[in-house]
Assembly symmetry: C2
């Protein structure tokens, strides 16, 4: 099996935004409320967290289940992880996931300001510059033959898409508009020249777009 | 997470048959052609076999991917495995999968004629009598905390359903009629008193039914 670079369970608004304006540690999705965007995933039995095992086991859940399966490394934009390295000896990090990041693989954080790697729980964060192709190469090498997930945000996914590096995408389109923020696409049809795309509406109200290279 | 007993990727005709009449080693689906029933799964990139990695990566593929994830033991009916134990020293087995069964877990084969267990590749087959509840208990104990898959056929699934032992089912309904054979249901609505059910049509022509306990 080829080693793939994938986007999984990434959620955008109907107008294509992965997050609203004014993103920060307190508001990781900017003016969008995380629950509005992520409601479909949080309602499933497989969504990680204290209520794991409760919830629905339909289409949304089957897609959430695949999240961690076969992934050996993760790439994400700097806004996905908030690192305040006050000293090199005592690096601090905070993300929406708190003290137990759910990744459990090496994570490569895209930044122009490299800083020392650190480990939190079972996840090690590396801060890397360079082109998308260079970062993809680093992540592939660290993934032990498994696939690499590109976690977001929208700007990072777009950069990797534009560089022709993404093999497969699962994007959930939530039934709300954000009007501004970090945008993945104006419309998913933009990618139809390069990707097969299946459109699968879920009873929860989101519409899943499943794309793979032509 | 609770330990679940699941049916995954089980395919039936539009009239509810999992196999046609006259099942045998040469015709594991009886008068039905395996390619007609299983075309949706065989066209996916994740279907195990020599062409694995080629094929579609849409909805059907996302469902096929989950097949082996988190499964610690399998239960199947005797028609799923054809064992001709000519001598105890040289047990022979043949199934549609040839010499490399894709299960890679303990497999519990339902039969009234117990025979010695044997191992083929990474799979060990045990031949067990007893009630569905007793067999489910054996399989759970062997699954190392992981879930148990009930592989089929239709009669076996029905027996476990009737005993209230199945937590979750994914059944793909193929767009053809068989008229006779081993039947799972007259119509999926039969189970609506006991299960939530999502109906998800695939672009391939099959309709996925995803059921979980109420």
């Amino acid at each position: 099996m080829a080693q793939l670079l994938k986007v999984q369970n990434f959620t955008v608004s109907a107008d294509g935004y992965g997050a609203g304006e004014g993103q920060g540690l307190e508001r990781p999705f900017g003016h969008a409320h995380p629950r509005d965007l992520m409601r479909w995933a949080m309602a499933t039995a497989s969504f990680p967290g204290p209520r794991s095992g409760e919830g629905t086991c339909g289409l949304d859940d089957h897609l959430v289940r695949g999240y961690a399966h076969g992934i050996g490394a993760e790439i994400m934009g700097r806004k996905q992880v908030r690192a305040a390295a006050r000293t090199v000896d005592r690096p601090r990090v905070a993300g929406w996931w708190g003290d137990e990041p759910p990744f459990r693989t090496p994570v490569f954080v895209l930044t122009h300001h490299p800083r020392p790697s650190f480990t939190l729980g079972e996840t090690t964060f590396h801060f890397v510059g360079g082109s998308p192709a260079e970062v993809a190469e680093q992540a592939r090498a660290a993934a032990g033959g498994l696939d690499v997930r590109l976690g977001g945000g929208a700007h990072s996914i777009r950069a990797f898409l534009d560089a022709g590096l993404v093999d497969e995408l699962h994007v959930a389109v939530a039934p709300l508009e954000l009007g501004a923020g970090s945008r993945l696409w104006t419309a998913p049809e933009e990618l139809d020249d390069r990707y097969h795309r299946e459109v699968v509406p879920s009873p929860s109200g989101v519409v899943h777009h499943l794309l793979w290279r032509r």
